[in-house]
Symmetry: C2
Subunit: 343 residues, 2 copies
DNA sequence: GTGAAAGCGCTAACAC
DNA sequence: GTGTTAGCGCTTTCAC
């Protein structure tokens, strides 16, 4: 069954294609009767207009590309969901690309999105996108989310990463911790660098020397979280507190700590980056750095789609930074607390 | 900056468009020298071929539509991720639509996917898709995931829902539980119906009367899970065990139970549907019904893309059912167990 | 080995 | 109020 085109509808009715097109576009010049007949015929024949043809004709596509590193990550799933809702509300769609933090995959996907003539691209860029990727993006409306890629001085919606880690670390310091381990992503990613800065700034503000703390940097994965946790706890002088700086690392850490009974917060306090649903349940509640990801993605979506609609040649690059909040739960306590469950 | 077309490249080189096209397609008739010149020029000018034009010309699109109810749900996030990987490996892309379990949204999205002339559609259908949706789907290669919609007798990849709940319930029965509460989705969804059948079958196999159990059915949402949990626990004769039959309901239940200390499994045992990462951590480990979602989605993706490639007019509808497994952890114990923590 | 031209499905400018 | 026509960017005959 070949696809049925406007011409098929026209022929079936003995009228011209343009009349069909106009009728379906509800053009005022077409008589109500003709409109009705066309409507009916196209329904009967199962006519569905071709977007590719419309796009080629000059009409812009209603497709928005979304490039994210991962979907298992609560963070990005939330973002995708929020953006999908935005798009849906305004008649746009999402083309989803998972780049896996690989710049070659990223490059390929961006190229394909450009080839598809998407209306715009929302991207969480990799640490250092290829030159070609940057060049292509510059020819398309786009926004960066969370991470900001320097060579692209474009619109950006993100989180105050530095402040976030600063607050989390300060919380631990105020409880009296000095031997603190930071487990986070490398500084290759702008977010990783900013978070580490926040950590260090809190330390120096409290006069804690670099020799008292431990910085374990690596890929922002679950597995690294597990490995880093083991490394920290089995050190000669284990930390009395751990703070993480990436969502997946938090998962890995919590997994390594098991259910944490008798260990957290008695032997070690924990502040987790991100605030997934389960953080409330982990051994009575994981103290977390909560990021308003949903709100961030929604406002990003609204702003971006508005910009697409009004086809503004963005004068000033728009930047939006939203703050994180510290949610104190049961996994943080002063160091050397009594151990209620024990012999 | 208007988009640069093949004609622009041709003009810049003083050759014909067709030559450009052939050179880029690596046509053997074109001289190596010309190919090199074209390659270089198109790189210099930033030429990116137009997919819409290619599609209109008759070439099929490399876009695959994915329709799911929700992305926050671990289940569907995993599916989307797995399918995205499959697509990526074979040069396809995902167009993501979140239907929110709303048949009107579903209808609109399917229509738009058809309009975009996608190569195929992977769908987790709503309880009862509109007639129009079914008709449209029949004109496009498609496969159903998890839920099977009756009117569409098409290819389907799913889980043995009935057996899954049967096993979970049997586990509780074998521990000695009789007053069991089932919290699940309504029977409007085929999956909901199958799961409830499994629950009931286990009961009747064990000779447990319907008057001893409690069936709480509703929407498969977090909020319903919370509400249902409260309802069950505050009943005149509260259950000694609870089994859930939907991922989000499990989350809601666990939230309602708090960290569960002193309550689970002493007063009530819990079997949770689904096996998200946090299930290992919930109060020492949540006994779960684990579904191999990732494998399911991957095999679905592989099979479907293969079918798209080889353009087979699917003779026999393909069906694949994969089994769930019961993972026993700490939240299930015989009824009336001693209460180690308490006076 | 390369060029010219037709046509995919649609819309908009121009007839009548 | 409706028909005719051109052309979007590409591939693919067919011609040289």
């Amino acid at each position: 069954v070949g696809t049925v085109t406007a011409r098929d509808v026209a022929q079936a009715l003995g009228i011209a294609v343009s009349t069909v097109g106009r009728a379906l576009a509800d053009d005022p010049r077409i008589s109500a009767q003709t409109k009705a007949r066309v409507q009916q015929a196209s329904l009967r024949l199962g006519y569905v207009g071709s977007t590719p043809a419309r796009v080629m004709r000059g009409g812009s596509s209603k497709l928005v590309g979304l490039l994210i590193p991962d979907l298992q990550n609560d963070f990005y799933a939330t973002i995708a969901q929020a953006l999908s809702r935005c798009c849906d509300a305004e008649g746009y769609h999402l083309a989803l690309s998972i780049a896996d933090d690989n710049r070659d995959v990223e490059a390929r996907h961006v190229r394909e999105l450009v080839s598809a003539r998407v209306a715009g691209i929302v991207i969480v860029p990799t640490a250092s996108p290829r030159k070609e990727t940057v060049a292509l993006l510059e020819g398309v409306p786009h926004v960066q989310l969370l991470r900001r890629c320097e060579p692209l001085d474009a619109d950006w919606f993100g989180i105050n990463d530095e402040e976030c880690l600063f607050e989390g670390t300060r919380h631990l310091l105020e409880l009296g911790h000095r031997q603190i381990a930071y487990i986070g992503g490398t500084t290759a990613l702008p977010t990783g660098a900013a978070r580490l800065r926040g950590f260090r700034r809190a330390l120096s503000a409290a006069g804690v020397g670099a020799d008292e703390v431990m910085e374990i940097l690596g890929p922002t994965t679950f597995d690294f979280g597990v490995a880093a946790a083991r490394r920290a706890l089995s050190a000669a002088k284990p930390p009395t507190a751990i703070i993480t700086a990436a969502v997946q690392i938090t998962s890995g850490l919590m997994d390594a700590l098991g259910s944490g009974l008798g260990l957290v917060p008695d032997r070690v306090s924990v502040v987790g980056f991100g605030d997934p649903p389960w953080s409330k349940w982990w051994n009575g509640g994981l103290t977390s750095l909560r990021m308003p990801v949903q709100e961030l993605a929604t406002s990003c979506g609204l702003w971006f789609l508005h910009r697409l609609r009004s086809k503004q040649a963005s004068g000033e690059p728009h930047t939006s930074i939203c703050p994180a909040t510290l949610v104190v739960r049961a996994t943080t306590a002063p160091p050397g607390s009594p151990q209620p469950r024990g012999e």
